[in-house]
């Protein structure tokens, strides 16, 4: 069997491979890390702070230093991965489900369905993102869902789906008139069957690329919400909250911001590189 051409192209993209390596490493940390790293909520004034009460810089006992409560920053970053990645993943799954449904419906049915859904996509795109996200996240935090990762994930998905819906719709519009789809329709296949058997499989590549992009964006957006205090409640060590809590210490204990900020940038960049590599590999005509 021939090696798949896109996989070979992907493997030649050094940036993409680097992205995969980092993404895999961080995912591994998120899965395995919490069992290995210390307790991220253990307050230790006696050993975790200087005699004057300052956070301790990186040292043998705490490789990334300690925070204002004497907690181990490394343990918090690791546990933060286990918190932030699932939120971004859940948001991505929800956004993709909704985005694919809307994109396929609009692209396949065309007509007024397309017009209505496309306007909806435009509408959500046009909303002042941060403001509405804050509103929605605040509202959800007052609901019964408060305390779980659901409010943040739902908020991010509610604003992430148009990113998925647009390219899917465009692709479906083209696919609709592809020969094998027209043939299937001519043979009397019902729309649902045509979509499931002939349209969706052809979308797989696009979905993978867009999903990776959405994941990367959701990770940053989750950090933003947590930074604003709308993420998981304290003492949850989400990366955005860690940056927020470390902000007053930017002069005296810069590691409090550097550690979680590096984690955010590294993870988001890694998934972004993977997405870009996949896009180029799957669509050779668009490659550099």
């Amino acid at each position: 069997m021939q090696p798949r051409p896109w996989l070979a192209r992907f493997a030649r993209d050094r940036w993409a491979i680097a992205g995969v390596a980092i993404a895999v490493a961080i995912t591994a940390i998120a899965v395995v890390g919490p069992a290995v790293a210390g307790d991220p909520t253990r307050v230790d004034v006696e050993h975790g702070l200087s005699p004057r009460g300052e956070p301790l810089p990186p040292h043998a006992g705490a490789v990334l230093g300690t925070d204002a409560l004497g907690r181990d920053v490394a343990a918090r970053v690791v546990h933060g991965a286990a918190l932030s990645l699932p939120i971004a993943a859940l948001a991505t799954v929800l956004a993709c489900a909704l985005g694919i449904a809307v994109g396929v419906a609009a692209g396949y049915r065309r007509g007024w369905v397309d017009a209505a859904l496309s306007r909806l996509v435009d509408l959500v795109h046009g909303l002042p993102y941060v403001l509405v996200v804050i509103l929605l996240a605040s509202a959800l935090r007052l609901s019964a869902l408060d305390g779980s990762i659901a409010p943040v994930a739902i908020t991010l998905a509610a604003f992430g789906w148009p990113v998925v819906a647009r390219p899917i719709r465009a692709e479906v519009v083209a696919l609709r008139d592809a020969e094998h789809v027209v043939a299937a329709r001519a043979l009397g296949a019902r729309p649902a069957r045509v979509v499931v058997h002939h349209v969706l499989p052809a979308l797989a590549g696009t979905v993978v690329v867009v999903a990776t992009l959405v994941f990367s964006a959701a990770l940053v957006a989750e950090a933003t919400l947590s930074f604003l205090g709308l993420g998981p409640p304290p003492p949850a060590p989400s990366w955005g909250r860690m940056v927020a809590e470390g902000q007053p210490y930017y002069r005296t204990a810069p590691w409090l911001i550097l550690a979680p900020a590096t984690a955010i940038v590294l993870t988001a960049s890694a998934f972004h590189l993977v997405a870009r590599g996949l896009r180029d590999a799957l669509d050779p005509l668009r490659a550099r």
Partner: protein, 535 residues
Amino acid sequence: MRSILFALASLVVAAGCGDDDRGPRYRAWGHATPRPGGTLTFAVGGNVATLDPAHAYDEASLYPLYYLHDTLLGYDGTTLVPALAETWSISPDGLTISFELRDGVVFHDGTPLTAAAFDHAWRRVLRAPDSPFGRFLAPLVGAEAFAAGERDDLPGVRVDGPRRLVLTLAAPDAAFANVLAMKFTAPLVDGAAVTNGTGPFALDAWSAGERVTLRRHPRYWRPGRPHLDAIVMRESVPRELAFLQFERGELDTIDQLTLPDWLWIAAHDGWRPYVHQTPQMSVFGDRFDVTRPPFDDVRVRRALNHAVDKARLVRLLGDRGVPAHGLLPPGLAGRDDELAPYAYDPARARALLAEAGHADGLELEYVLPKDETAERLAQSMQADLAAVGVRVRLRVLSWAAFLDETTRAGGAPFSQTSWFQDYPDASSFLDTRLHSRMIAPDGEPSNNDSFYANPEVDRLLDEARRTRDPSARAAAYRQVERIVHADAPWLFGYHPVGVEVVQPYVRGFALHPVWGRDFRDVWLDLAPDGARVPR
């Protein structure tokens, strides 16, 4: 995300600066005696909501009033002394208080002070809709009926000629005289602006949300005061920003430092002579709704008090505080100094919880306002309580939502709380927060938000209010302290220590035990040409 980028950018900038020199930029010129002139600039975090003495009750709004208005009485330390009154006397039955006004006092607009100006101001407060202060005047004969519009005379206030004022109380009230040092009792000229006072500074300009500018009152009654030409108060400056402005020399003085800024200052010997500290007349802790399970069981309340390491809370404030055994801060008459804070004793906490039927632990929700310090301390408490099997979920709310949620019956039963005195008297803490009279009906906001009702405490508080003998009063309050300590309607936290850092050329500054920061006697030790002297 923009905020994160900003944080990162400021980090890079800060790292690039790498300033090892953290000491003061300026030094004092070295004048031996106070020099007149100059402008003092300081900042507050809040917005000035109003300059009307009948309504100003928040920190930012009260600052300008402190300089605009003088009152009948003032404080030397925590002792009441005459201010606009030259002399004052209380009748043996404690029902009549007479004042002779000082001669030669004029308002900013030049109007001479008369006793009628007090009568006018107080009638105004009593009839002002939504004024938080009417209740303080309630002890005056006829005040409540006047406020309700049932009568148009106010027999409790008698103007006896231009310089004599006689007050009559419905019942003896040993704490009442303190009310006459509160700013809402300042005299006002009928028909003039409410900012037209008798204080050392007059209003120059108020640009709402931005700054209040005060200029010297040239005919102020205290000879040789004030030294300063003007005071500028910048509004709504966040604490972190205020600190940067102070370091650059844009502010002459600063308080309420964040923990890292405080540690930064404390680490540098150059600042040490310019750091002022004094215990604040306030208390911080966590309130329980004692009518709701599991807090209706005193064993649970005591267990939680034993479970939290209060010494560590103080440590996390940069040692700017002392652990509390009750509500009364150190130095206040009536505080029982022999009581100790609940010992940090997790084993005892577990035993008490087991006794109360919670051997398997508890699940609680704790509500706190969005505030860096409150969140830090709450996480410490959360860790302590987790160690005794009490799992606490933190709910962070905006200040308005927080007040709404935590002061009404049926609201959050466990939350952060604090109290700042209205005046330095035990009643300002104990009556206000723990007398059953302060439980509002029908879910209205209550000052007694523990909904604590103990007939013995009520009786002792009422008795102390009627008693004039200071030692008998103190004894009654000490008894209340012991009962309250044992009943534990709060998880008693700490009394903060106020810290003010001034620029080296700011002289004559002292933290006042009642007012806190006080610039009335401040002068600026500048070069003869009025310029600041670089170090």
